[in-house]
């Protein structure tokens, strides 16, 4: 009896002593030698350049290899060949801003079968295609706040239009869905959404679409453009037309592109987050997944470098934070 008792005590004591040292949860290391590929919606879009710039900065902080590849047109079929190449190159993880929620699924499945971790940022795929989705802010909040911003500027009265990016982009359609839902509320009863135009994230097309909107809808009072390419093209067109100041323009834009239009009165306020931070967060999420430190389940937390810790929500959702509203008062404080 005595020897077994002492043995039990010894085991229990060693367990108690060992416990704090067992799995060092908070300080899990990023595995060395990881290779992560970042595939934005398209590569010649300044917003995407800032976003992936943040991702590459994160890779540098972590001491791992990162690269940005992608198409110049924002279409899903163009992204496919890059995904295939990344599979052949045996990347550890792919971080993707998807141009279509469903078209990429078979290829992402193939990648997952090869052991490559998939993280989406900015624009999601259907959830079976990826483990984690890094969203810039709550989609609902983005959609509703855009409508609220515009309504205030036009006194809750008049025709409005939306100038979007590509018709299939997941994030655009989610936000537009919330915008339409917000417009159902009683306080917006005198506002009417006349159409959604698509600028395809192409500057020229967005420019000519804005032109078209003004020609076709003479009673237009406001435009929401939740895409940085769209809002800057629309602002440029409005600022040289007699409608400057008469048609309200809100949306998601970068301070550097929009600064002159805020200063000359074409645009009163618009919103965004820091795309570099989003890219940074997504890079860390992918690296943690690829290192085996997290599985992507709800409730897990991971360290995201200088952004601090993040907890994974339902369906692998990770949120960056609330959006920032830019106006003439604060626009000079930002440089991106």
């Amino acid at each position: 009896m005595k020897p077994r008792c002492s043995l039990t005590i010894a085991v229990v004591c060693s367990l108690i002593l060992a416990a704090p040292w067992a799995p060092a949860q908070e300080k899990k290391e990023i595995k060395k030698g990881l290779k992560i590929a970042f595939i934005p919606k398209n590569i010649n879009n300044p917003y995407n350049v800032i976003e992936t710039g943040g991702s590459l900065a994160a890779c540098k902080d972590m001491g791992i290899e990162g690269k940005v590849v992608g198409p110049s047109d924002a279409s899903a079929s163009s992204q496919v060949s890059y995904i295939n190449t990344m599979i052949t190159q045996r990347q550890s993880a792919i971080v993707l801003a998807a141009n279509d929620p469903n078209a990429l699924l078979p290829y992402l499945k193939r990648a997952t079968q090869q052991g490559i971790k998939i993280v989406t940022m900015d624009s999601d795929t259907a959830k079976e295609g990826r483990t984690i989705f890094c969203n810039q802010a709550s989609s609902e909040m983005i959609g509703r706040s855009e409508v609220q911003m515009l309504a205030k500027e036009i006194d809750y009265k008049g025709d409005i239009a939306i100038l979007s990016a590509t018709p299939n982009a997941t994030n655009q359609n989610t936000w537009i869905g919330f915008m339409k839902d917000e417009l159902q509320k009683p306080e917006y009863k005198d506002m009417k959404l006349v159409t959604v135009a698509y600028g395809n994230d192409d500057d020229q097309k967005s420019f000519t679409e804005t032109q078209g909107l003004l020609e076709a809808y003479p009673n237009l009072r406001g435009i929401i453009s939740p895409t940085t390419v769209g809002i800057s093209a629309a602002a440029r067109y409005l600022s040289t037309s007699p409608n400057k100041g008469k048609i309200a323009l809100v949306g998601l834009g970068t301070p550097n592109q929009m600064r002159q239009f805020v200063k000359d009165g074409t645009v009163k306020e618009f919103a965004l987050w820091n795309p570099a931070d989003l890219g940074y967060l997504a890079a860390y999420a992918a690296a943690q997944l690829a290192s085996g430190n997290i599985q992507g389940k709800e409730g897990e937390t991971f360290s995201a470098g200088k952004l601090g810790d993040r907890t994974i929500g339902k369906d692998g959702l990770v949120i960056l934070g609330p959006p920032t509203v830019f106006s003439a008062d604060n626009i000079d404080q930002f440089n991106f």
Binding site: S75, S77, T88, A103, N200
Partner: protein
């Protein structure tokens, strides 16, 4: 030889029986060069990237080139007859858009696919009709139909993309037998059939006759009009097939699918040794050049050269495939002993004509 004959020759004049042997020898020579280049490219690819000679990579490589390869097959025949068809990629897009459109309209897939092929045939027949009956230049007509058919694609689908196809069919575009993609096997069968038709049947011989000298062929009893009509219709059907393959491979039906493919297909055809003035070329040459372009594209992609840079490669290949043989023959001309006192001024002054 007087100056008018020289002029005719400079413009791709009549070919006579004595030239057959020389033509064949030249063709075999060109294919040999292509084969060597292909081997060199494969070796270079492996050196650049150790992942190159893996089955996974070759599955990708072969899968990527199928649509353009399918377009290039009937195009070879058309260029041999001294015509051209620039609308092939737009027919691909039209068939893809129609596929998505009808699928969204809840048509059953076994009905949708033949409809797309039929649409392709109709499109090809429109081309053929305008070119043969109205005797319009094929370059102009197919630039027009290129825009027209692409326009129809946009009318059908607008800016949308349809992506929810049933897995049994998307597997057609996506699946493999061993490491060979299923579409590649389709292509291989089609290529063999085409090669037999072109090189071993009387019909095939008439193609070379028409390309060499259409009037002479007509007076020899060849039904040039009917032949050309058939060629354009076949081109339409095969382009539509390529559209179906593309849609299922990328799980995406969009109005702008395949934009620009006609240029790649043409590049492959000319690089493969099909003469721009018609009357010569082989299917095997086209096949080799397709493979060469695919290998170069794949090897460069593996070292992260972007898709757009690859266009420089395709463009350069297209141009060199014509410039180099021309330069070679000009050099040869200069060193050949002259038998007459005729100057070659009229020849030197003539400008190469476009296929029309």
């Amino acid at each position: 030889m007087n100056s008018s004959t020289r002029l005719q020759l400079a413009q791709g004049g009549p070919s006579d029986a004595g030239k057959q042997g020389r033509r064949l020898a030249r063709a075999v020579g060109w294919e040999l060069i292509l084969g060597i280049l292909l081997l060199a490219a494969i070796v270079a690819g492996q050196i650049l990237s150790p992942d190159f000679l893996t089955t996974a990579n070759w599955t990708n490589l072969l899968a990527n080139f199928v649509e353009i390869a399918l377009l290039a097959l009937p195009l070879t025949l058309i260029v041999i007859t001294k015509e051209i068809d620039l609308s092939v990629a737009s027919i691909l897009g039209l068939s893809s858009s129609l596929l998505g459109f009808l699928w969204q309209a809840r048509w059953p897939m076994p009905l949708v696919l033949p409809t797309c092929l039929a649409a392709g045939a109709l499109a090809g027949l429109l081309n053929g009709f305008l070119i043969v009956q109205f005797r319009l230049p094929s370059l102009a007509v197919t630039i027009g139909t290129l825009t027209l058919f692409r326009g129809f694609s946009f009318v059908l689908l607008g800016d949308r993309a349809i992506a929810d196809f049933p897995p049994e069919y998307s597997n057609l575009g996506f699946g493999t037998i061993g490491f060979l993609p299923i579409p590649f096997i389709f292509f291989l069968i089609l290529a063999i059939v085409t090669a037999i038709v072109v090189h071993a049947t009387p019909f095939g011989r008439t193609l070379f006759a028409i390309g060499g000298n259409q009037t002479a062929a007509q007076f020899s009893g060849v039904r040039t009009q009917r032949t050309k009509l058939i060629l354009f219709a076949v081109s339409g059907i095969v382009s539509a097939l390529a559209g179906i393959v593309f849609t299922f491979r990328f799980m995406s039906s969009r109005a702008d699918n395949g934009t620009g493919f006609e240029l790649s297909a043409l590049a492959a055809v000319f690089l493969g040794g099909v003469s721009v003035v018609g009357g010569k070329g082989t299917v095997f040459g086209t096949f080799l050049s397709l493979l060469l372009i695919a290998v170069i594209n794949n090897a460069l992609t593996l070292v992260d050269v972007s898709n757009e840079i690859l266009t420089i490669v395709t463009g350069s290949l297209l141009i060199s495939s014509i410039v180099l043989p021309n330069l070679l023959s000009q050099v040869r001309e200069r060193f050949r002993p002259r038998h007459s006192a005729e100057t070659s001024a009229p020849v030197a002054q003539s400008v190469p004509q476009n296929p029309s």
